[in-house]
């Protein structure tokens, strides 16, 4: 990540402070958080329902008041004044405080939930107990640390979503997209799974399922306990299981072909939803260097391979050997995975080889060999599948990727590394969608002829660290695996150069020697050579 560089000669002492309405908003919001802290330290809050309501309303209301103070008296338009001057959004002191607080919260949440008051037997205490009343209204059960997290997460997306709507009120694409992520978070991620839990009884149990969460983002979706639950829950369960499989193999490729990965990453996904709302103030912190891009490609695709291997291993452990009992045996499954991956690789190699960079070719080939070798070893060595036991793979994936990468680093470090660290470097779902988007999609960001002035607003505000300007100033369309289609590059462009579009796949990627506007003969001459 790029170092903090404050060229003092160029930054002076501009106004970086917030106005009094924003200060009051901040105070109210912090007040709401203090109530949570009091609960956390087991201060006995007598009427839990009242205190919880007060806390959540204060947090939500504080965010709204802050936004009102920030944008209400300003005209419609881009609101990036002072972004690099404010401590919170320029890796200053406040940013580090926020980063450490968030990181600490995630560590406790994932690894020390008992500190939050989680109790396996008996009543919850502390912070989690504070959320019991709300949880009981929704699902009928006491709260868990995940319920607490889910509630705060949803409030963050809704509150900062409204802030974002205010900020970009002139931009209909941004408005619709934000309403979409707010809806999917509230309905699909938060409410529906809680209501689904109400359906559960002694002889009927659905696993907790946010159905917009697609494998491999929900890497645990095909673990034994869930698949058992799905199957034992009859037709509804089976339908959900099949939907989960169709999501990744059918629905996702079709939608990504038509609209690019944005349909998921910046319109539906919960991680994306938080990044686009609560994380919006940090989008410019992403690293734009070519080096970061290289790291991104290797890391995110390695995570993808990891999740494929892990899931394959985990599923194969609970499949049997006897084809008479169930048609899907361990052998059929493993051979199926091997054949699928080989076919996929071959198809890409035949049709899209020219579009792959050298390192992508090495990487794709290398990883295919590794995966096939691991499957092969199973047949030669017998018992220990994939050299490492599946359970070890599963727990290490959950720890390293599911908790540390997506939570602690991905969200905890928003104020330091930007808001899409997880989406860019870690999310295996984004990696799959990215491959589809890069190789097989109608989506692109069109560059408007010769109008680019290389100002750099697009690159600066790209949360995925894409150097958008590098393409725009060459008159080249932007077709990048990582682009989540947030549309901010187009919004901040002062010259109307960029437009997100779905259109015919021919000439989606073009590079011009000389840009539009120059001598027609010169352009013809150079484009022929």
């Amino acid at each position: 990540m790029s170092s903090i560089q404050r060229d003092l000669s160029l930054t002076g002492q501009p106004p970086a402070s917030i106005n009094s309405i924003q200060k009051i908003g901040t105070a109210i919001g912090v007040g709401g958080l203090i109530i949570l802290l009091l609960a956390l330290f087991n201060i006995n809050l007598l009427n839990k329902t009242l205190w919880l309501t007060l806390s959540l309303v204060s947090i939500f209301g504080g965010i709204l008041l802050f936004s009102y103070g920030a944008y209400a008296d300003k005209q419609e338009g881009i609101k990036n004044d002072g972004v690099w001057f404010k401590s919170i959004s320029s890796r200053g002191f406040l940013a580090w405080v926020a980063g450490l607080a968030l990181t600490g919260f995630y560590i406790v949440l994932y690894f020390k939930a008992d500190l939050l008051g989680l109790s396996a037997e008996g009543e919850n205490t502390g912070l989690i107990a504070l959320f019991d009343p709300l949880s009981k209204i929704l699902s009928g059960n006491p709260a868990s640390q995940w319920f607490v997290y889910g509630t705060l997460y949803t409030i963050a997306i809704l509150g900062f979503g409204i802030k974002f709507l205010w900020k970009y009120r002139h931009n209909r694409y941004e408005r619709l997209r934000t309403i979409s992520v707010m809806f999917f978070q509230t309905a699909f991620a938060f409410l529906i799974p809680e209501f689904m839990a109400r359906l559960n009884s002694d002889d009927f149990s659905l696993p907790y399922y946010d159905i917009k969460n697609v494998w491999p983002l929900n890497y645990y979706n095909f673990e034994q306990y869930r698949v058992d639950d799905f199957i034992s829950a009859g037709e509804i369960g089976l339908a959900l299981l099949l939907f989960g499989i169709a999501s990744i193999f059918v629905i996702t490729p079709i939608l990504t072909y038509k609209y690019g990965k944005r349909w998921y990453c910046s319109w539906v996904c919960g991680c994306g939803g938080l990044a686009e709302t609560a994380g919006d103030s940090f989008r410019h912190l992403s690293d734009k260097s070519e080096f970061a891009w290289k790291v991104e490609r290797w890391v995110v695709h390695s995570v993808l391979v990891f999740v494929v291997v892990m899931t394959t291993a985990v599923i194969s452990t609970y499949l049997g050997y006897d084809p008479d009992k169930y048609w899907l045996t361990k052998d059929i499954f493993l051979i199926g995975v091997g054949v699928f991956l080989t076919l996929l690789f071959t198809a890409i190699w035949i049709f899209k080889k020219e579009e792959l960079q050298k390192d992508a070719r090495y990487g794709a080939f290398g990883y295919l060999v590794i995966v096939l070798a691991l499957i092969g070893i199973h047949y030669t060595s017998g018992s220990t599948l994939f050299l490492i036991p599946a359970e070890t793979l599963r727990t290490s994936y959950g720890f390293l990727i599911g908790s540390i990468f997506s939570g602690v680093i991905g969200t905890g470090f928003y104020p330091i590394f930007g808001n899409r660290v997880w989406c860019r470097f870690g999310c295996p779902m984004a990696a799959i969608l990215g491959l589809q988007q890069r190789l097989f999609s109608k989506f692109r960001i069109t560059t408007n002829g010769g109008q680019c002035i290389s100002c750099g607003n697009c690159s600066s505000y790209c949360e995925m660290g894409i150097d958008v300007r590098a393409y725009a100033q060459k008159g080249e369309n932007i077709v990048r695996a990582s682009c989540v289609g947030c549309g901010i590059c187009s919004a901040v462009c002062p010259r109307g150069v960029l437009k997100l579009e779905n259109a015919a796949t021919d000439n989606r990627i073009n590079s011009r020697e000389v840009l539009l506007g120059n001598d027609v003969d010169l352009m013809d001459y150079l484009n022929q050579n």
């Binding site: 404050r6 004044d81 690099w84 694409y173 002829g449 002035i453 750099g456 901040v492 010259r495 001459y525």
Partner: protein, 433 residues
């Protein structure tokens, strides 16, 4: 190996360097006194406003230059000796060249006002100007009040910049509407109102008479031509720019306002070329001005001269005029020729449409008799360069353009479309005419 030396690392010089590298193995040296690396001059405002950092203005990573074997020298060229093909640098060094490209750009034009060189009087063209502005106007305690003289694109940018630091701005504009030397009156009016709505004290038909010293060499106030005294701490001079050519005196390289060049961008001296806004065409091309201080023309000259130097001579023959800008929150694009009310050609007729909310409007210029489409200005609506360029080349009629206007729309997805309103307004105007 042939040594190509380029003086000036702005868009013109850098584009020339890049294209010469693409097409040849010549030794390339890029000299600039202003900054070590190429940066986007048009984006200087965003650093002051806190949207970007200085390093974000650099379109290429610092390693780019070595990788592409473009040598960078940060030095000031004091004079040129074309007979010996030598550059004299301010630090005393000499540099030999085989081919020289002059791309020195512009400096603010001042018009001999009394006290125009006081501290606190400045333009906004260079990196040094930005640093100076940080010094002169870091906040509204040091600089509570600024007066900007001149209503062009830099003037409105400077007003927006100072406004973000809550500095009170008075903007003096000679004409009746903002930039009405370029924009048709209705548009100039719309932009004037928008600037006023942001709390800028925009004064029309007002000019600078003189600047008053506070006794310590700093600005105390200005006096307008109408005689009003406006106290201020900063005077922004944005009355246009002029080519930076003072160092060419006595070099034998012919100059007028700028460096005189022919269509091959050659000066009167062999192997010396002039590109960008320091260059002046001996004869204006089409309806263009002989000197064009615009990003795109600088780039296009760089693209062209590189071909010529690399053995495929091309005349500078720019295509249809286009440009764009942003006035606070209103984006502006233009394609083809739409002249201001004052400069309108005899054959030129305008169709104008304005949205009731006063943030969007378009003007289409067409030929009175043949109805041929001549150009379009849009405010608050983005247009597709490629489509309009094609229509201009194909001499489409104004009616064709209006009927197919949606094909040229470049607004983000889901934006409201105004084509039918625009068409209805046109049809109504035809019936009344």
């Amino acid at each position: 190996m042939e040594h190509v030396v380029i003086v000036g690392n702005g868009i013109a010089g850098v584009t020339a360097a890049r294209h010469i590298r693409k097409n040849s193995d010549k030794k390339i040296t890029l000299i600039s006194a202003e900054s070590e690396h190429f940066f986007s001059r048009t984006a200087l405002m965003y650093v002051y406003m806190g949207h970007m950092r200085w390093k974000d203005l650099k379109p290429y990573e610092d390693k780019f230059w070595a990788k592409n074997r473009i040598d960078l020298i940060q030095a000031y060229v004091e004079k040129i000796n074309p007979q010996e093909q030598i550059l004299h640098l301010a630090d005393g060094q000499k540099l030999k060249y085989d081919t020289l490209i002059l791309a020195t750009g512009s400096i603010p034009a001042k018009y001999g006002w009394e006290c125009q060189d006081l501290k606190g009087v400045q333009g906004l063209v260079s990196k040094q100007d930005l640093e100076l502005l940080e010094h002169n106007a870091p906040n509204n305690e040091v600089c509570p009040k600024a007066v900007i003289v001149g209503g062009g694109l830099i003037g409105v940018e400077l007003a927006e910049m100072l406004h973000t630091r809550k500095i009170d701005v008075t903007l003096l504009v000679r004409e009746k509407g903002f930039w009405s030397g370029v924009l048709p009156d209705a548009e100039a009016q719309l932009i004037s109102e928008h600037i006023l709505s942001h709390g800028i004290d925009l004064r029309h038909e007002e000019e600078l008479d003189k600047i008053i010293d506070n006794g310590t060499g700093n600005v105390q106030a200005i006096i307008t031509k109408k005689g009003e005294e406006i106290p201020c701490n900063l005077v922004g001079i944005t009355t246009g720019v002029k080519p930076k050519i003072d160092f060419l005196k006595d070099s034998g390289i012919e100059t007028d306002k700028g460096i005189l060049v022919n269509r091959l961008l050659e000066t009167n001296v062999k192997n010396v070329y002039g590109i960008g806004d320091c260059a002046q065409q001996r004869e204006a091309i089409g309806l263009r001005k002989p000197i064009e201080a615009v990003w795109y023309t600088g780039r296009m000259m760089g693209e062209t001269v590189a071909q010529t130097i690399c053995g495929t001579p091309f005349e500078y023959n720019p295509g249809n005029w286009f440009n764009s800008a942003k006035f606070f929150d209103i984006e502006y694009q233009t394609y083809g020729w739409v002249f201001s009310t004052k400069n309108k050609k005899d054959y030129e007729q305008h169709f104008h449409w304005k949205h009731p909310d006063n943030t969007k409007c378009i003007t289409i210029a067409f030929h009175k008799e043949s109805l041929q489409f001549l150009g379009i200005n849009t405010f608050g609506i983005r247009m597709r360069h490629e489509v309009l360029d094609r229509w201009l080349n194909e001499h489409k009629s104004v009616e064709y353009v209006l009927q197919h206007l949606s094909q040229a729309n470049f607004d983000p997805e889901f934006y409201k479309k105004y084509e039918s309103q625009i068409q209805a307004t046109y049809n109504a105007s035809k019936q009344t005419a």
